[in-house]
């Protein structure tokens, strides 16, 4: 998550950076069938909150909600191709983001500027298929190497 925040040094991500960690969690659960531990996500989130200066609990809640939805929304589990996966991720990410945003607005009693928020959501949703295809390519190459050897 430190890496994610440091992307802000690039002029393209001046206003906000994409949420790479949410893509990784989703792909770990749905694609690799591996669920990261709740405690690990909690600690990771707390550390991120400490370093980014957000109220403690925001990032942890975000990560745990992503995990919770990715594991438990049975309607979205029927996704085989990339398009369905993208729709499923979009639904999970936007729902989680809206919940966290709502809590943030309630806590601060103020509505933040929408531009960075929309940019954050947009770049994350654009990055998802790129990372997903990249992962598929890596799997394909490793399978090729295995079959040849």
């Amino acid at each position: 998550m430190d890496f994610e925040r440091s992307l802000g040094y690039f002029s393209i991500f001046n206003s906000s950076t994409p949420s790479i960690i949410s893509i990784l969690i989703y792909l770990l659960i749905r694609k690799l069938n591996f669920s990261p531990s709740n405690i690990l996500l909690f600690i990771l989130g707390i550390l991120n909150d400490v370093m980014s200066g957000v109220s403690l609990g925001f990032s942890s809640m975000f990560l745990l909600l992503i995990k919770f939805q990715a594991e438990n929304l049975s309607l979205l589990k029927l996704n085989k191709n990339h398009e369905q996966q993208w729709f499923s991720f979009t639904f999970i990410f936007i729902t989680t983001f809206l919940i966290v945003l709502l809590i943030n607005v309630t806590v601060n009693l103020n509505i933040p500027d929408l531009n960075p928020l929309l940019f954050h959501v947009g770049t994350t949703l654009i990055l998802f298929p790129i990372i997903n295809s990249g992962l598929d390519l890596i799997f394909f190459i490793t399978r090729m190497i295995k079959t040849n050897s």
Binding site: D2, S60, N110, D113
Partner: protein, 311 residues
């Protein structure tokens, strides 16, 4: 599903419940954090002191790559940049001559009016070790803390103007809340139209102007400085310039480029109001007007007098 491969339904249910409990705990933490408890503040200070070197190590290569990319990008426009800089230099030279004569005049006038001399600022400069990006918070860490006498509330500046103020201090690091953060509110003063107001961050690029008199008409492009009201920030620090949006609303564009900050200076001799002081009585609210008759039968608040006037 639990850590690793799925085992049985009971473990799945337990994992789900634990996940839910942790989400509720996070929610509790969020609201507890808003109470600004000293214990939570101290834990945060300890953690960011402890974790700062790791963040610095992770950020350093990415920052360097970003700088290289920016350099490569700027080489394509070097000629244009050179012409622009030459023009700027010419303009600044003429401005420098003007400001020198104005400064002499100002010093003479200060002497005539017996104006108290300004206190010399004591400055501690630290290197920025985290990127300011964040959708819910805009803060940065610098690598100097209590060991250099930094305290909560002290203003942070750069060569362009006000950056923000210190909100948390560790032993070797300090956290600075940037002007653009949604929790940042600073008293300002519009230098040309002479109106006081409050600038609030929006987690975006611009600052919102609040509590500006309805009679005020800000001038587009006028400079905004800190007013010093409340005693938290010293007066006269450059904040930014007024810009007008398409909707006709006025905003402040900060002078500081928050993405390009490498060093930040903290004004360590700024006199802060000590709320823990026993003599401190709190900020006095607006006083109720004393009843005095302006017109016969009507008091100063415009209400009719009920009691009988004395002869």
């Amino acid at each position: 599903m639990v850590s690793g491969k799925p085992s049985n339904n009971r473990t799945i249910k337990e994992g789900r419940n634990f996940n839910f409990v942790l989400i509720l705990l996070c929610l509790l933490l969020v609201f507890l954090g808003k109470l600004d408890l000293i214990a939570i503040r101290n834990i945060k200070s300890f953690l960011f002191d402890f974790w700062a070197p790791v963040t610095h190590v992770v950020n350093k290569p990415i920052k360097e790559i970003a700088v290289i990319l920016e350099d490569v990008k700027s080489t394509s426009s070097l000629r244009q940049e050179n012409i622009k800089l030459k023009n700027e230099l010419r303009r600044l030279k003429s401005l420098n001559i003007q400001s020198e004569s104005k400064e002499l005049e100002l010093l003479e006038l200060r002497g005539l009016l017996n104006v108290l001399p300004k206190l010399k600022n004591e400055i501690v400069t630290g290197r920025v070790i985290t990127a300011p990006g964040g959708i819910f918070a805009n803060t940065v860490l610098i690598n100097s803390g209590k060991n250099f006498g930094i305290q909560i509330g002290q203003p942070a500046i750069s060569s362009f103007g006000l950056v923000g103020y210190v909100v948390n201090v560790g032993l070797k690091t300090s956290r600075i809340l940037l002007l653009i953060d949604i929790n940042s509110m600073i008293p300002i003063y519009l230098t040309s139209s002479n109106w006081p107001a409050v600038a609030q961050g929006q987690n975006g690029d611009l600052l919102e102007i609040k509590f500006l008199s309805s009679d005020a008409i800000p001038l587009e492009g006028e400079t905004v400085e800190t007013s010093g009201h409340g005693g938290r920030l010293p007066p006269g620090i450059n904040v930014g310039k007024i810009i007008k949006s398409f909707s006709g609303k006025y905003y402040i564009k900060p002078s500081v480029d928050f993405q390009r900050m490498t060093y930040i200076s903290i004004l360590t001799n700024n006199q802060k109001i000590n709320v823990n002081d026993k003599k401190f009585q709190g900020f006095a609210p607006l006083q109720n007007p004393k009843p005095s008759s302006i017109f016969k039968g009507i008091d100063s608040s415009g209400k009719r007098k009920i009691e009988r006037e004395q002869d």
